[in-house]
Amino acid sequence: MASNTIAGTGEKQQTLLGADELILNMGPQHPSTHGVLRVKLKLDGERVIGSECLIGYLHRGVEKIAENRTYQQFAPYVDRMDYVAAVSNGLGYCEAVEKLLMVEAPPRARVIRTILTELQRIASHLLWLGTHALDIGALTPLFYCFREREEILKIFEKYCGARLTTHAFRIGGLQYEAHDTLEKDVERFCKAFEPRIKDYEDLLTQNRIWLGRTKGVGILQAADAIALGATGPVLRASGVKWDIRKAMPYAAYDQYKFEIPVGATGDTYDRYMVRMEEMRQSRLICLQAIENIPAGPIMAKVGKVLKPPPGEVYHSIEAPKGELGYYVISDGTVQPYRVRIRPPSFVNLQSFDHMVKGHLVADVVAIIGTLDIVLGEVDR
């Protein structure tokens, strides 16, 4: 018998039926891993029995760079982390350093910051919606989302000249006065945006296939979500009503009324609904904010050279993806001693393995999409 066998048959074969395990390498070059995420999937047929995220393909050592730049010089770098929500990144960093300096941006600057940040949240969610729908196979929402996102980027461009990596804010306030048409532009966008959200919802919310693909997929219970450190829409969809904008208000959020949408089951559909509602709420915040932008200076009194007194501060904001924290340590010099960035995408991605177990390959794509990760931020 043995002489008949040329190759050893004793080795465990990897087949769909036999050994029940097939390793599928998804990414780093794959249409729906949103950049360079690489996921090693252990499959039984098409069912996932284990996964491992291999990240770092986009690591640029942002935290190390921070130690060799002055406080102001580092500000543009944070835009490159979550590059679809650069304004939010900038806000977090500027506020963290302001806290370290113990200064506060003037009210006018804070309101304008709020407006731009909320617009950025809408833009980020729009990009998420488009790509998420595309992952699940709906081609068209992507283009509708980009159409609206374009309007937001135009407002950014008018304000500071850049569209993607805006570097809109400065430590201590703003560099640029709001352009004349800012209120009008924002208002026009908000007015037009309401029916557009309805369009997206018409395409997806009640769609049987969409429901089938998202309901019950990637369930993350509240306790698990907290234990895994998930924040932002991912946490809220699990039913935890926590939003830093309400819990520890920053910028000018304490002045505006808005709701925190929460989900019930924590599945992909809930995350979708939460983000859709968040866009509506952001729109309302923008509308409230442009009603009354206080006059006054846009820059607090900070010196040309920033030398925060020694000490440390942790400041976090509610970025579109979740809690974006900056832990900045000063040693009294012009350069930060250490800047630690708490990236929401990185931490949220950790719950991927938990969510994906027992699902099919097609759901893996949906779950990557629903986590709304940006690899620039995961890898930093």
Partner: protein, 100 residues
Amino acid sequence: MLPIGHYLFLGLALFIIGAIGVVTRRNVIVILMSIELILNAVNINLVAFSRLYGDVAGQVFALFIIADAAAEAAVGLGIIIAFFRNRETVLEDEMDLLKW
């Protein structure tokens, strides 16, 4: 049509090739395929005679044989899959257990 002998010889050739496949190959899947060849050879004969006599009965029987082949393939492949799952082989001479 050509004289019936042509078809009979063709049927014979396919039958024998199939038979050789059945008795010499080790891979059970290939053996099953060889059996399909044999069934086909029979079909050729049936259809040829049906044409010769202008009677469709032969074709009807050929139809039954095709249905039979489908049943045989389904069950045979089912057995192969079940066997492969347990023993991780598709070689007939390694199928030496009556029960597992």
